[in-house]
């Protein structure tokens, strides 16, 4: 076995990570009788796999790259795997979430076994799902890539349909499976184009293929739509808000945190690596930018109007994928325009946001899982005041909320700031159309950031603050240690990545070195280790440690001012506006909080309001007012439904033709013979 003999440490670590989840999937059915042991084994093996993936990723990013051929696959088509800087970065991204989710699962899945639910389905498909994602990242040929990709898609389908007794979950699962397969087909098409150009299935061969401009565009478009569908880019996102909420929370943390990133990985692999940055055409980046901007804004706008906590988070995934795409699109534009250094900055921004989103969105979904665990509901309108019962969960959730709202000192700020810095370099471009588009897109990004902040004020305020809106929320309890540790790890990473970008950016700098042969390392820390300077110190600089010191100082000062001795403090509940006695029904709700935005953006939302009043005997005396508002996803009504209906009509037509009698069949045969004869005799 030359595999074991290979000297690369990173490759062995990555293989060990894959082996450990494979072992979990194989072990799980054997332990079906002893569900406690089963739960512990699956979860800890997943966590181990995550830890190994982190180690593999870091050593790969430090330059320990290698390739190997696995002794499995078809006889003439063995599986090639490798670890280069790009694969290593995404291994790291997978690892930093897989490990905490594994730990979290120990506690989270306890509620399932306590309810007597079987872990058989989760126990097999959760590890297989992780295996698929790790395999996609490690793949070095189109065959291995597609096999692992489908493994990832299909096993996550079983996670989505976990509670398949509900019809709604089965519908979500079907939509998910449908779109995953469509995406798989498009990706296969992209590889087919690359194969036609190079005659090789291996990525090494595809890189060497001679691509004409038309073929490169075809490969790019197929990859963009295929991976975009999987990543949930507007308007291909419809499956995402349906599928993510219904999966168990540890699975939805993985789906939202990593699976979407694996789609981003696939896109970078195909376009930047296989097609190559030399073949970029100027409008490709523009397309990405447009898709990214509409996803960022559309995602956050839809998120604002949700009151299902996990659905809201799912829409935020759409938003964040949009932000990543804006970074990638900017990088593509600058790479095509011959500014590789700025392109490297854009790429770093996109990658930075990729790992950030994996961390804070994973954390948010785990937090939502904790809340679901404690209250048994996903509906925000029935929560409230949870900060008193679950202080640790609340604090960790707050960290993630600040991160996703892109506020310093956490990590979300750094990556969005880098994206803005890239966008601010637009004057370097000669193409006036793009130069006009970029500021527009940057302002949409800014708006999305502000709206995201508003949205998480709403989430935190409604869920954790105020008074309990239901019995279940009143009796909520803090989650166990496993889940707390599982959530604390990504929170810690969020802080570290926010404070120490100057250490992290040189680490991931090997990715742009691999893809565009330019490094950012020289300019990032030109001045001092404290200061992050994307281009030059004169332009812009950010020092998170100093900022934190400042924040602590100001915070301490405020605390001291408030809590000076002899200072009387009056405490009232949040959302009471100073009124002493409000009952929980009189509080602000999620729906009322987002009402102003619903009015401003009513053109996009097209809200569907229902007002049902119940009167006493006299029509002027109102006994009860019921107000309900529904916001539909515009893409669903305007894009999906027409396509669905058209497909149905076509299928019906064909079915009717099938039902025709013998004469029709004879006529078909006859007409086709005549047509063929005429065609031959041309």
């Amino acid at each position: 076995m030359h595999l074991l003999a290979s000297t690369s440490c990173s490759l062995q670590l990555a293989l060990a990570a894959m082996f450990s989840v494979l072992l979990a999937a194989l072990l799980s059915p054997c332990l079906g009788k002893r569900s406690d042991l089963q739960r512990l084994a699956i979860s800890l093996l997943i966590a181990l796999s995550g830890a190994l993936a982190i180690a593999a990723g870091i050593s790969g990013l430090l330059g320990d790259t290698a390739a190997a051929t696995l002794p499995i696959g078809l006889p003439w088509l063995p599986m090639h795997i490798h670890i280069d800087a790009l694969a290593a970065f995404f291994m790291l991204t997978i690892g930093v979430l897989l490990m905490p989710v594994g730990i979290y699962s120990v506690g989270y899945m306890k509620s399932f076994t306590a309810n007597g639910q079987s872990l058989a389905q989760l126990g097999i498909f959760l590890p297989l799902f992780a295996l698929g994602m790790e395999g996609v990242v490690m793949a070095d040929d189109a065959y291995a890539f597609m096999v692992f990709w489908e493994l990832m898609s299909v096993s996550s389908y079983f996670l989505v349909t976990w509670e398949h007794a509900h019809e709604q979950n089965r519908r979500a699962g079907f939509l998910y499976l449908l779109m995953a397969h469509l995406a798989g087909l498009l990706i296969l098409g992209s590889f087919a184009v690359l194969y036609a150009a190079s005659g090789s299935f291996t990525f090494a061969g595809m890189r060497g293929g001679e691509l004409s401009a038309g073929m490169a565009t075809a490969a790019f478009l197929l990859a963009a739509f295929g991976f975009g569908m999987k990543a949930g880019v507007v308007p291909l996102h419809a499956w995402l808000p349906e599928a993510h909420p219904v999966a168990p929370s540890n699975a939805s943390a993985l789906m939202s945190g990593i699976m979407l990133k694996v789609a981003i990985f696939g896109f970078i692999r195909v376009t930047w690596d296989l097609v190559g940055s030399d073949a970029f055409i100027w409008w490709w980046g523009g397309l990405l930018l447009a898709a990214g901007s509409s996803s960022a804004l559309g995602g956050v706008l839809m998120a604002l109007q949700q009151h299902d906590l996990k659905r809201l988070l799912a829409y935020h995934s759409v938003e964040n994928i949009g932000i990543i795409l804006i970074g990638l699109g900017l990088a593509m534009i600058f790479a095509a325009a011959g500014h590789p250094l700025i392109a490297a900055l854009g790429l770093i921004a996109a990658l930075y946001h990729t790992i950030n989103h994996a961390l804070f969105k994973g954390l948010l979904f785990m937090g939502a899982g904790a809340v679901l665990h404690a209250t048994g509901s996903r509906d925000m309108e029935s929560m409230g005041g949870l900060i008193r019962h679950m202080p640790i969960t609340a604090a960790l959730f707050l960290v993630a909320s600040i991160s996703i709202a892109a506020l310093p000192p956490f990590n979300g700020f750094v990556s969005e700031w880098l994206t803005f810095q890239t966008a601010l370099l637009t004057p370097e471009l000669d193409n006036t159309l793009l130069a006009a588009l970029i500021p527009f897109s940057a302002s949409m990004l800014a708006l999305a950031g502000a709206l995201a902040a508003a949205c998480f004020v709403k989430v935190f305020g409604i869920v954790f603050q105020g008074n309990a809106r239901s019995k279940a929320a009143e009796q909520a309890h803090e989650v166990d240690r496993w889940m707390q540790i599982g959530m604390a790890i990504p929170a810690l990473f969020c802080l570290l990545l926010g404070v120490l970008p100057t250490l992290f950016i040189p680490l991931i700098d090997s990715v742009p070195q691999l893809l565009i042969h330019h490094s950012l390392a020289a300019s990032v820390q030109a001045g001092h280790w404290l200061w992050l300077t994307p281009i030059s110190a004169e332009r812009a600089a950010y020092a998170a440690p100093l900022l934190i010191t400042g924040l602590l100082l100001v915070g301490g000062l405020l605390y001291w001012r408030l809590h000076r001795r002899n200072n009387r403090i009056l405490r009232g509940s949040v959302w009471s506006c100073g009124h002493p006695h409000l009952n929980p029904r009189m509080q602000y709700t999620a729906t009322s909080f987002s009402q102003p935005l619903r009015r401003i953006f009513s053109g996009i939302y097209q809200p569907d309001k229902h007002l049902g009043n119940a009167y006493e005997d006299h029509p002027l005396i109102v006994r009860k007012i019921a107000y309900a508002v529904h916001v539909k996803d515009l893409a669903f009504d305007k894009l999906y439904r027409p396509i669905g209906t058209a497909t149905h009509h076509l299928a019906d037509r064909i079915a009717r033709e099938h039902g025709r009698g013998m004469h029709a069949y004879l006529a078909y045969i006859f007409i086709s013979i005549i047509a063929l004869l005429i065609w031959i005799a041309r």
Partner: protein, 222 residues
């Protein structure tokens, strides 16, 4: 030489008769007269085979001609006649498409077949090369008959007339197939006719009708 010219003319006339009979088959309203014309088609086919046998030196074509006359001119029509008589179905032929339209379509098909056969006729040097277009047209008309008729019996006659036309095409295009093939095909057709007869009996007893549309409707209801 003179005789050859004469026979070639005779073959052409026989070919036009074939086409004419195909039209006649399409145009008939009564089942028995369809049968008469079918028999006439078999006889013309036999005559054509005989004529081709005269100008080519394939002796087995004489045998072929005799077999055609017996089988297609007499035996098959008689078998079908017996079925019709036994089942009392000598009512009118029921077309799906009315007669004038059928005729127009048939005319169009003849034009198409001439268009198709033109390049092939140009490269053939057989004495019978100008019959190819007509032969193709007769195949088409047979198919048209199968498509536009409701009754199973008329469809079978359409099918058999396609077979006649294919035989005619073979004679015209290549001076006949090898003997063994021809005998095989002839027996196939005979057996097919017998099986059709059995089928008709079965269909009648199961569905109470030989009308395809009615049978389909009943089959759906089950």
């Amino acid at each position: 030489m003179n005789q050859l010219m004469f026979i070639q003319e005779a073959i052409s006339i026989a070919a036009s008769l074939m086409l004419l009979i195909s039209f006649a088959l399409l145009a008939q309203h009564r089942l028995l007269s369809v049968l008469h014309w079918f028999s006439a088609q078999g006889i013309v086919l036999a005559i054509t085979t005989l004529l081709v046998a005269l100008i080519s030196d394939h002796d087995e074509l004489y045998f072929s001609a005799a077999m055609t006359l017996l089988l297609k001119g007499a035996l098959l029509p008689w078998l079908l006649w017996r079925i019709i008589m036994k089942m009392h179905i000598h009512r009118e032929v029921e077309p799906m498409v009315n007669m004038p339209v059928t005729m127009m379509i048939a005319l169009g098909l003849v034009l198409v077949s001439f268009h198709i056969a033109l390049p092939i006729e140009a490269i053939s040097d057989l004495a019978t090369h100008n019959t190819l277009a007509i032969a193709t047209a007769t195949v088409f008309l047979g198919m048209l008959m199968m498509i536009t008729r409701k009754k199973a019996v008329t469809q079978v006659i359409g099918f058999l007339s396609i077979e006649n036309a294919l035989f005619f095409t073979a004679i015209g295009a290549t001076h006949g197939m090898p003997m063994i093939v021809e005998i095989g095909v002839a027996f196939d057709v005979l057996i097919a006719a017998i099986i059709f007869g059995l089928f008709f009996t079965q269909m009648r007893s199961t569905f109470d009708s030989l009308d395809i549309e009615e049978i389909e409707a009943k089959a759906k209801r089950r």
